[in-house]
Symmetry: C3
Subunit: 342 residues, 3 copies
């Protein structure tokens, strides 16, 4: 095959290129120089294209280089955190999936619109600090990875924490924050793949994130917590595998189906390939969705050899990276590449 599968070096690139190699593709990693020492170790990466920063892929010259190598670019979280939606949409390289949907993941209002259209349960908004009558979480508009998030259980505790953010020049006033009820329950991230070729939604796995330091504070007894000032942070360090109770799967697939339908109606032709619903299961088994990702998520790195779910569908070990590669292979074989690229 002379098609090359390429991606940015970070996030889930090892899995993506390993899967591509296993499916017979050439593989190319766009790699920041500081990361070269890591990625040169992996023999399934055929070519490393070094850049100073991932912003460099915006140059037409760089994109020409990719196109000469017959590259398809697999987008992931790193692409989204480096480039703005306009910039991603402007790329003149074939991108796997619907690149126009990535904007809906990045913009809070579009995101909310998509989730409502997909009939997902979402957390209740709290209009302002005077309405705080339960545990709430304050979030910073556009903040990434939980930075600037804090919990509050009343007006006072809200003001204390927001003053702190103001003093630290992280925000300039309270209005930059928005408030949601804190949904009690257990976090879960559900990995899907939608194939435009088969028109099927596939459940590919589930995980929970492993976040610092919030997943460590439970290891501090409350009498010590009460005596030191712990402000939780939610920085993703890794992921832990989970399986879901089988009786929850009916809803899991329904949420996936609804998400696909909503995406088709809002941003044609809709989602293509991997996506993820991210939320909390409450004590009555209801899933409340906080976020979605309209592309592969890093939690799929757990399942380089296939997950408990993908192994029900496929007679081989199927990672999400490999699933992407098989979809491209199938599209190439049936001259339907146009259905899966943008």
């Amino acid at each position: 095959m002379n098609t090359t599968i390429s991606t940015l070096g970070s996030h889930c690139s090892l899995q993506v290129l390993k899967g591509a190699k296993d499916e017979g593709f050439n593989t190319l990693l766009i790699c920041e120089k500081k990361r070269y020492k890591l990625y040169k170790r992996f023999s399934f990466i055929d070519k490393l294209l070094l850049v100073d920063t991932y912003h460099d892929i915006l140059s037409q010259e760089f994109q020409n280089q990719l196109n000469e190598l017959n590259c398809i670019l697999i987008p992931h979280g790193t692409l989204i955190s480096y480039l703005k939606p306009d910039q991603i949409e402007s790329l003149k390289v074939p991108i796997f999936g619907n690149k126009y949907i990535l904007r809906w993941e990045a913009d809070r209002h579009l995101k909310q619109k998509m989730m409502i259209n997909a009939k997902l349960n979402t957390p209740k908004s709290i209009e302002n600090k005077f309405d705080i009558d339960r545990l709430c979480i304050a979030k910073l508009h556009g903040a990434a990875g939980g930075k600037g998030y804090f919990l509050a259980h009343d007006k006072n505790s809200f003001e204390q924490a927001s003053s702190k953010l103001i003093n630290e020049h992280i925000i300039s006033n309270e209005s930059e924050l928005y408030l949601q009820e804190y949904v009690m329950g257990v976090p879960a991230f559900i990995h899907y793949f939608f194939s435009p070729l088969s028109n099927d939604v596939e459940l590919m796995g589930a995980d929970r994130r492993y976040e610092s330091d919030i997943d460590g504070i439970g290891r501090v007894p409350s009498r010590h917590q009460n005596n030191v000032n712990l402000e939780p942070t939610y920085n993703v360090i890794g992921n832990i595998p989970i399986v879901l109770r089988e009786s929850l799967l009916t809803d899991v697939y329904e949420m996936g189906d609804n998400f696909v339908e909503a995406s088709k109606s809002l941003i044609s032709p809709g989602i293509i390939g991997p996506f993820c619903l991210e939320g909390v299961y409450t004590s009555d088994g209801k899933f409340v969705t906080f976020e979605f990702s309209a592309r592969i998520v890093a939690g799929t790195n757990l399942y380089v050899n296939g997950s408990q779910y993908s192994n029900l569908f496929f007679n081989e070990e199927m990672s999400m990276g490999k699933r992407i590669a098989t979809e491209i292979k199938n599209a190439l074989g049936s001259a339907k590449l146009g259905k899966i690229l943008s």
Copy 2:
């Protein structure tokens, strides 16, 4: 092979039928109509038999249908939660395992008798609320899935929580509750398989449950917990894989052996196939058993491709579902089906 392996659609049915299919059996899923959309997705299910509710399997006509298809029914948690022990015992379909032992799982007194016979450590009972001198857990007789459970650290906190249950008409008076010491430690669920053909106990895996919202409250710092009223619930959402310290395995096998012996003496011919011991490892590495399951548990869904333990025994990926299928296949081959059915 013209034997059909069948089960109810829920709990661990995907794993069970996938394993059966991989071993060459016909597969049949008894499926509530509302679950059809889920189960029709899986190609390893040869036949879906739709019912309005799982109570429908009690009709003789339905059972005749299963018998015409040469079905063996694999029991799991959903069968137990829909049918009473009498009803399960009355089924005129061959059931894998000893169906008479399922009663011992459902009845608290029989359960306790089995655990004592098996020389398992069990939590200390607290006679009444005046004796609460440590952290205790109050349980509702016959409650499923932790519903109505609560913690109490003294008479006062017990009365507060039980009044709440009375007000909510969940109980009518305190005497419906029983009290146990709350065993500090980490929960673990140990999956076993006993083969009457080889007379061996096999350790098949271990997991910890992922329960809402109890496994989420540790993510709320104590100063917020202190200011909002969190009442923990224990609804199973999924499972997380664990391996056990190798030096604990001597006891793990001894517990399994003892459980098999106890079951043989109490409810002949004893346990057949999968069972599970469910409890907590204390800080001195002692396992305190709360419950057992006398059939396959959903935590085995983690190990669709085999577990760290099953892979030591078998030269292929052996899920619990596949293990059941191989046992049936071996029994068919050696004309010993009578040893594994009831």
Copy 3:
């Protein structure tokens, strides 16, 4: 092959001998009599050599027996907990790895020296109880497995807990304890393999420990914790799999490389084979190392079928046990056994 791979029965011995058998070696387990019932179950163990206690391997006669069987001994945590460094070094049996480095793991001062040489971040020391101005952890010199560890948030809480240890005759005075800041974050254990044959550091997996009862206290709401006296303990019960955020892997490999370099300069020829860095990821993604193990750790038991990382390198399921066996096989094949034994 007439080489026999042997190890002590405990810790990770099942994985080690399964891997050895899969690679074609004879396998021998040195087994305390009380553990015989466990280990006789596994058919991949060719020979069980029974001893009353693992101290028996110190006798020259016993070592002669191993040498007659052409044994290579794989060291692990159990060897270290039974024998003193002098005793391990005195063994006249070929040991896989550099046996002289095991002393550096056992001695707190040598350990600290190695970690500083390897440029690892380590927790800040607190000189004495008057300096406690944040959450601290007090550790007992030479204590194993977290026994005698406690948390303190000020001088008072330190004195309370240390008085308790004195009253219980665990220590005779406070000076036996040393104090470190308690690093907030999430624990992680990173498994490496260094091959002197290829001169490569391989990332083999990561886990977090599952410790009793510290990993259970988060399941007790703070208002109950506040009313009962919970003193956390850190007894390892098992392990939970994790993958790390891919952007952390650059540092992960750099830490591994630095550790190998430091070990070469401090205790020639340096580390050989498996090692582990053990610490906490803070909320800014920095890894703070508490400990290292200069040999295989039990967390690798999670990956009997290979990990998410080992499967990127190897085209087969590669456990750490199997990796050791392949290294020995490669060394035998190229007459370089001297490079990997001591």
